[in-house]
């Protein structure tokens, strides 16, 4: 009995400590985000971004678009990328052995002709079969290569890049016209910045016209609205917070800018994971830290990349389990950095946080409440204490979500319809009952998958949103952009 009691006491205390720690971290990040976002918005309003980009001295950017079976929306997506407001950029689309008509659509859509392209060999990738250039626009290149996955395709793009910065963009996302200008602003302001990432927003429910989001609305799907709140928390609180410690570990694969030289130095993307975006950033941190030179990896809350999120539970669970397995792989690969003082804030803050709260957190959050309940039933815990703890957890959850929503509302106000905000407020109240636990369950199952060495990534149905001409985007299911 005493062993059982000890187990419940330790579990209960552990759950409470975990709960207190994660909420404290989020509260601190929220406070930091308030300050940081208002500075960022002021800089955006009164800054000199447009003038800087009239300058002939700005660095060029190669936009790399890995594409696998993206025939549905690839032409619209590339058209929107060509139209980005940036004075010196080229587009390199990498057709990763698509089995559909992706290459044919590109050939016809942009009048492609075969042309030689000298390639660097800095990042390993599967063989490139043929390179093409657009007859209309010599800054648009298409590489047709053997299938090797997204990371492999990105590596081919890195090898073909001509400019000192590369911007990885998912083929099924929509980038706002000024997004490249904004995401590149930190590299102009501070030569120590080696990578930047922008905010990813949810396109479900928005009206899209010729590859541009023209009316920002909330999705009709409840599941998608819940993800809108989740993305606010992840991007406006989480990433802004980590940027303050220069420990940003994820730059979303859907839209991230990197100094090419550094990507080449670390050998390009790791091809054995679907979490290639996070893995690359962690590797860059370790490499740059070991070199001893000052560097910064920044998150820019303004540049907007729109992506569609799953609207059904099956696809969402698959996506979350995939992400969690990718996270586990990255953490395992870089386990030497965890709690390692030689890796600076990455080792002492970033990696431990991701191990405890992002990777193991779901297990604690799923198993904690039943254990506490059993402790209550066995009389090891007072009922009032249990109920009060539950109420605190619930109300804190609401407070953090509402704070993230307030950050959005005070700084960006992208949802212009008043009723959209009222809906978001209502969802902020109910989000903590059901959805959060479901998410934790999927992520815990991914941890189990990893322990059982199940590493298949499952199918990623990618249908593309660029092709929607006008009207609400249709329901679709694809890989999406990781918000964690």
């Amino acid at each position: 009995v005493s062993a059982l009691r000890l187990f419940f006491v330790v579990s209960g205390v552990g759950t409470i400590v975990y709960f207190a720690a994660i909420n404290t971290i989020y509260l601190v990040f929220t406070l930091m985000a308030w300050r940081s976002l208002s500075t960022s918005v002021s800089r955006h309003t009164y800054g000199a971004i447009e003038e800087a980009f009239e300058s002939p001295f700005i660095p060029g950017i190669t936009v790399i678009v890995p594409a696998y079976n993206e025939s549905a929306g690839i032409v619209e997506s590339v058209k929107s990328l060509i139209g980005l407001h940036y004075p010196l950029h080229e587009i390199v689309v990498v057709n990763d052995g698509s089995t559909d008509e992706t290459l044919d659509r590109l050939r016809v859509g942009f009048d492609l002709v075969p042309a030689h392209r000298a390639m660097r060999g800095a990042a390993a990738c599967r063989p490139v079969r043929q390179t093409y250039v657009s007859r209309q626009n010599h800054d648009l290149w298409v590489l047709d290569k053997e299938n090797g996955g997204k990371a492999d395709a990105l590596n081919a793009g890195v090898n073909a890049a001509r400019h000192p910065y590369i911007c990885a963009v998912d083929a099924d996302t929509i980038i706002e016209p000024d997004a490249l200008l904004d995401v590149a602003a930190p590299i102009l302001e501070d030569p120590e910045v080696v990578a930047t990432g922008g905010i990813v927003r949810i396109a479900n429910g928005c009206t899209i016209d010729h590859g541009r989001v023209v009316d920002v609305r909330l999705p009709t799907s409840r599941l998608a609205v819940l993800q809108v709140l989740e993305y606010f928390r992840a991007f406006l609180v989480g990433r802004v917070g980590w940027t303050q410690f220069n420990t940003l570990l994820i730059i979303s694969g859907a839209f991230g800018l990197f100094r090419r030289e550094v990507v080449e130095e670390v050998g390009g993307y790791w091809t054995e994971t679907v979490c290639e975006d996070m893995e690359l950033v962690v590797r860059m941190h370790r490499h740059l830290h070991s070199r001893g030179a000052p560097y910064r990896i920044a998150f820019v809350p303004d540049p907007v990349c729109w992506t569609e999120v799953p609207e059904d539970l099956r696809t969402l669970s698959g996506q979350r389990r995939r992400w969690q397995r990718g996270l586990g792989q990255t953490l395992w690969r870089h386990r030497g950095a965890t709690a390692n003082p030689r890796c600076g804030t990455l080792g002492l803050l970033g990696m431990p946080y991701f191990v405890i709260f992002e990777f193991l957190g779901p297990v604690i959050e799923i198993l904690g409440p039943p254990v506490t309940l059993v402790a209550l039933l066995l009389g090891y815990l007072s009922l009032f204490f249990f109920l009060a703890l539950l109420a605190v957890a619930y109300l804190l959850g609401i407070a953090l979500t509402v704070a993230a929503l307030a950050l959005e509302e005070f700084n960006f106000r992208r949802y212009r319809q008043g009723r959209d905000i009222l809906r978001l407020l209502a969802y902020a109240i109910v989000e903590n009952i059901g959805y959060r636990q479901l998410n934790d369950l999927w992520r815990m199952l991914a941890v189990v998958d990893l322990l059982r060495r199940r590493t298949s990534w499952g199918a990623q149905r990618r249908r593309g949103i660029g092709r929607v001409v006008t009207g609400r985007t249709r329901k679709s299911a694809h890989s999406g952009a990781r918000p964690t």
């Binding site: 500075t39 009164y46 000199a48 042309a115 302001e189 030569p191 703890l389 109300l395 008043g418």
Partner: protein
């Protein structure tokens, strides 16, 4: 339990207050936006008449109306040049806006207010603001300094700002690309200062001056720029080579060919670019050698230059050697 209950109470109140504040703020903002739009619609014909040289703008407006009118005029000022812009500047000088914003820029403790003032002064475009904006280049906050550069550029970067701007760029007080953009707005008026800086003690100053002379200078500057090819600093050598590609002539080819064998790759690449721009036939053998054997960036620059100078030689060599850079340049050349 008591502590937890207190936390529950506090959190409940905080949540209720924030939820209410967000909802009511949104309603208030919607009303405010509608009101602003209505005022703007009412003023638009009067503003157009004023910009076209017609009657003056109304006086004795309410504060909200004045704010909307000022914002409209600043928006137009960003887009307009010539007499219309001058009228806007004169209007703001008369209304005391320029002196008020200059005072905010000089003395406000809040960074965003100083940045806003610098921004507004640039929009207004009155030359009266020049000294205040030059002083703001040494502001403690980078945001204010960057906005000051932007606004000096909007004012056409008066020549008296050249030295301060070069100092701000070389001391890395302002973003490099923006600072250089600001300097370019000076045009040829800034040349005397830039020429004097070609022999400055700091390599950064020499490199910046050389680069800008490459953009706004002329053939008479080539001799002094060419000296930079022998500078101890690689960035000065690189900028000198690039500048000679723009303002140099046949007399600079021999020096550039020597630079083509510089130990630093970016300098070699710059020399190749310059030789291509100068269409120097004497350099084809060297360029061909670099296109075939040098590092990626240098080889590519040499291949492009070779094609610009002698397309036939580049074509023949590409076919014979299967050199990737030459083949790429050739394919692009065929497309025109």
């Amino acid at each position: 339990v008591r502590v937890l209950l207190a936390i529950v109470l506090v959190l409940s109140i905080v949540n209720a207050v924030v939820l209410f504040a967000l909802a009511s703020r949104r309603l208030r903002l919607s009303r405010h936006d509608r009101r602003q739009a209505a005022i703007e619609k009412r003023f638009r014909p009067r503003v157009h008449e004023f910009l076209g040289g017609g009657s003056d703008l109304p006086l004795g407006l309410r504060r909200s109306e004045e704010g909307v009118l000022a914002e409209m005029l600043r928006r137009y000022a960003r887009l307009l040049q010539g007499s219309s812009r001058r009228r806007i500047a004169e209007y703001f000088v008369r209304r005391g806006t320029v002196s008020r914003e200059m005072s905010i820029l000089a003395s406000s403790k809040r960074t965003w207010r100083r940045a806003r003032a610098a921004h507004v002064l640039g929009d207004i475009g009155s030359q009266i603001a020049t000294p205040a904006l030059i002083a703001a280049l040494t502001d403690t906050r980078p945001d204010v300094r960057a906005t000051a550069v932007r606004s000096l550029g909007k004012l056409g970067s008066p020549p008296e700002a050249t030295e301060a701007l070069i100092g701000a760029v070389t001391d890395r007080r302002v973003p490099d690309a923006l600072g250089r953009w600001g300097l370019l707005q000076t045009g040829t008026r800034g040349l005397p200062v830039m020429r004097s800086l070609l022999v400055a003690s700091r390599p950064d100053e020499r490199a910046t001056a050389t680069q800008l002379i490459g953009f706004v200078g002329d053939a008479s500057d080539a001799t002094s720029v060419e000296r930079g090819l022998h500078d101890g600093s690689a960035s000065v050598r690189r900028e000198s080579a690039l500048a000679l590609g723009r303002i140099g002539g046949e007399g600079d080819v021999a020096a550039l060919m020597v630079t083509l064998d510089d130990q630093v790759p970016v300098v070699r690449a710059a020399a190749a670019v310059a030789l291509g721009r100068l269409r120097a036939p004497a350099s084809t053998t060297s360029l061909l050698s670099h296109a075939r054997t040098d590092q990626f960036e240098v080889a590519r620059a040499a291949a492009v230059a070779l094609f610009e100078i002698d397309p036939v030689l580049a074509t023949d060599t590409a076919a014979a050697t299967e050199n990737a850079h030459l083949l790429e340049v050739l394919d692009l050349g065929r497309l025109g």
